[in-house]
Symmetry: C2
DNA sequence: CTTGAGCTGTGTGTAACACACAGAGTTATA
DNA sequence: TATAACTCTGTGTGTTACACACAGCTCAAG
């Protein structure tokens, strides 16, 4: 099988197959006459595994680590069980950030509906954005006296 | 103000300031004697705006477009209102994907708790992963007769 | 003047591919 | 067999938003 054939069979782009080959996840043999990559059944199993793992959110690096065990004939199950727990935690975290961002955005859209369109000044570029963020930083760090000194440090 | 001073004042890394300068979002003047970037008040307002916009999920490219209006003295409010709507849609979409991934992961963890640790074979690298994904692809595309022909196309 | 700390700009790396492109291979037609 | 037309290949580069490395410059202390 050549690159494009494998790609079509698994519903991915030829570039994806080339990419996984380039980074060493796939090791097709090379046709001696034209140098083309030649994939066999094992390579396809490997590629399917990669796609399944990616589908579960595993990174290419994760997959590399997994292969480093399975290529030695060892079971990767324990490793995979651990990796997925980490993945879940990461996903939860990203999920929470999505939630925060989403509500921030909806709130902004709503708030902005009652605000005028202003023209930029030397101190304000777009009041919609600048005022929005003032709110959720308020008790974070801008409560320290800011921008009062150092301004005259402009020595030269 | 030099790079590090501005960075510290706004709580970001000097590299971030340099980056925004490099891509043209900031245009500090350069000290004629040593070539160092020199930031004034306007540059700081600009930088704060960038940070606020990034905080709302706007991309650097978005910000570039915004500046292309405000730098001409035009109001960017209408533009910003449109951009944020798009942002919200994108966020909703990513949010949904997060939800799907999260449940996929939890389900996998649960299912796997009752499955043995297997050793890789020629057809299966890690049954945990390979079997998990079989499930949610089942009615997608693998229901077409797959992998029955072409295998013998291996001419040479 | 020298030393050393600190700062600077620039080049490169990151994740996971997508795209571009020249050159080689393959096929169809003459 | 020649040639045109098309397909395929490998490789180089672009993507996002910075982080890191590093040589060289600046500046204060001695």
């Amino acid at each position: 099988m050549k690159v494009t054939q494998l790609a079509n069979k698994l519903g991915v782009s030829a570039d994806t197959v080339r990419f996984y080959t380039r980074i060493g996840l796939l090791n097709p043999s090379k046709s001696p006459n034209n140098g083309y990559k030649t994939f066999n059944h094992k390579d396809m199993v490997r590629m399917q595994f990669i796609l399944s793992a990616r589908n579960l959110g595993f990174s290419v690096e994760d997959i590399k680590v997994i292969f480093s065990k399975t290529d030695l004939g060892d079971s990767a199950c324990q490793l995979v069980r651990e990796l997925i727990k980490v993945k879940l935690l990461e996903t939860e975290q990203q999920f929470n950030e999505m939630v925060k961002l989403r509500s921030k955005l909806s709130k902004a859209i709503q708030d902005w509906s009652q605000m005028p369109d202003n023209i930029p000044t030397g101190n304000m570029i777009c009041h919609l954005i600048e005022n929005t963020n003032q709110e959720d930083i308020v008790s974070e760090e801008l409560d320290v006296p800011h921008c009062v000194n150092e301004t005259s440090t402009e020595v030269k």
